[in-house]
Subunit: 334 residues, 2 copies
């Protein structure tokens, strides 16, 4: 058989071989890895949900306080937002599972027998045609040596068979190439779908957060008010119930429209941090070794208890938060 | 002691109690849940990386093929993109760990002793002042009954002590409220930082994917070409090495600039799918029960082998992919 025929044959066989021994096993492995990937997604959603449920509980405590209702709202809205993001992510996960992994798994299962048959069929058919052609050619050679008068007809048969052989080889090569390309395109297009689903998720997540982060920043800055606002002296309303009982309901409503204007009860902004009740702050705790709180700060309004009756350790001093700045951190955005 | 004083006292004590018994334990729990959340993030990045490394290997196989080099590029670029997204996500994870969890953990540890001391101090000081005031008042009452000439001075002392008591109560209430509000604001502002980091991540991820998904779609559509393009007949270059050996290098380069124009070797688009080598396709396999491939499709170019020598089962038929449409799925984006 002509060497170029033989090379053509080997190249077609090599395509079937690479589908059977490389592509299909790789696709099976991909399905396995994809299922691990999915499990990791689910684990993340769960962990996020548990975490932000805890944030929500703390936010609801803050809503019960007399000082931190706006902050409580922000925390509750944050956990609400996280729930939105989680359900958007669920769409990606569903696509990955339903449109990729399941199809990939089905196709590899279907493919094994089909590719095996195609390859075997091609092999048998090739050998049969090659042998047949050989036979006719040697016959022709014999006839020509004997100057047989039928040699001319025989030469035509050989040419016809050779043309058919070439057609068969090209068709078979194209068929194998088509199958190979189909499989790679399938994989690329499926992951294009996945990438596009991620793209939409990122877009949605971004616009969801964008409005809310701005609102939260405003509200949190508005909440930086002197605690004086909440304790208006001995005979003030603070002596009533510590918080209006209907408070929770409007907050729930605000949750679903975080772009709503800051609530009316937002306290006025403070003139300057210098007016903090305990005067200027000590350096941040993070710079000091952990120790018992220091008793060093003078009172906002100095006064002297009856000297005779005051215990020796009491000289108009009281505990001051040595690491106020660790809490009063400011969110450092911008 | 006057009842409003007593109520004021209980409300201040309640604030310390809620910090000690609600806020701080909740924050500790949050740190624990946050660490689980972090672990889930890391597990997801790992799973994604393993999955897309497998995609990359398949893509590199495709680059070695004679039919699917563009598709191989797309797959390799997809896994490259995934690596970008993973490293962007790492920024979020670092913020969460370094700027939230670690600070939250440190603060709760620091807080316990300080709040305990403040509360105890307030309690002792209140009882001391209350007792002192009671003593002076009963003394005044005694003197007034006896019409004592010093009653007037004593009345002044009582008034002074009472004013000091009021000042002390208000200051203490404000101090407690400040501490409570500080803690809720700390939590809200820290999570505002986290939300903002997520916002930036989503924005970056979106713009990274946007260009690439478009390019991949173009390239994948360009790759829908007749396999004829790859097997130009028996004596064509396909009989040389199945792929140009320098092929891999330019691909690596394309990876880092996926917005580059489709490579030059992109085959011309096909006029119509009707010209597929095996003629019209059967209905998608998904509609048929799994079975051995059928042998039903006529050849693109019919030919007849020497009838005498053909095996009985061979009548110019060959295996046809019964579920071609399962592979030739089209990525259905638009």
């Amino acid at each position: 058989m002509a060497p170029e025929m033989d090379q053509f044959y080997r190249s077609t066989m090599a395509i079937y071989k690479s589908i059977m021994e490389q592509f299909n096993p790789a696709l099976e492995n991909l399905v396995y890895l994809g299922n691990n990937y999915l499990r990791a997604f689910h684990a993340l959603s769960e962990a996020a949900e548990v975490y932000f449920n805890a944030i929500q509980k703390i936010g609801e405590q803050a809503l019960q306080s007399s000082t931190s209702q706006i902050l409580g709202e922000i925390l509750v809205q944050m956990s609400d937002t996280q729930r939105h993001l989680n359900s958007d992510l669920e769409v990606v996960v569903q696509t990955f599972h339903g449109d990729l992994l399941q199809h990939m798994e089905k196709n590899t299962k279907l493919d094994v027998q089909f590719i095996k048959d195609s390859r075997q069929h091609y092999e048998i058919e090739y050998r049969h045609r090659a042998a047949n052609l050989e036979k006719y050619m040697s016959e022709l050679w014999r006839m020509e040596r004997k100057r047989d008068k039928n040699a001319r007809e025989m030469k035509e048969s050989v040419n016809r068979l050779h043309a058919q052989m070439q057609a068969f080889m090209s068709e078979s090569q194209r068929a194998a190439e088509l199958e190979e390309k189909r499989r790679y395109r399938f994989l690329a297009e499926k992951h294009l779908l996945l990438s596009n689903t991620f793209l939409h998720f990122f877009g949605r997540a971004r616009s969801t957060l964008q409005n809310r982060v701005l609102l939260w920043k405003e509200q949190s800055e508005a909440s930086r008010s002197p605690s004086r606002a909440h304790s208006p002296g001995l005979l003030g309303p603070v002596l009533g119930p510590p918080y209006p009982s209907g408070r929770l309901t409007p907050t729930r409503l605000d949750m679903v429209r975080p772009w709503a204007p800051p609530p009316l009860f937002a306290p006025p902004p403070i003139p300057a941090p210098a007016t903090a009740p305990w005067g200027p702050r000590p350096p941040p705790w993070s710079l000091l070794p952990p120790r018992l709180p220091v008793y060093a700060a003078p009172l906002g309004r100095p006064f002297l208890p009856g000297a005779a009756s005051a215990p020796p350790w009491w000289l108009g001093r009281r505990p001051q938060n040595p690491y106020a700045d660790v809490w009063d951190w400011g969110w450092g955005l911008d």
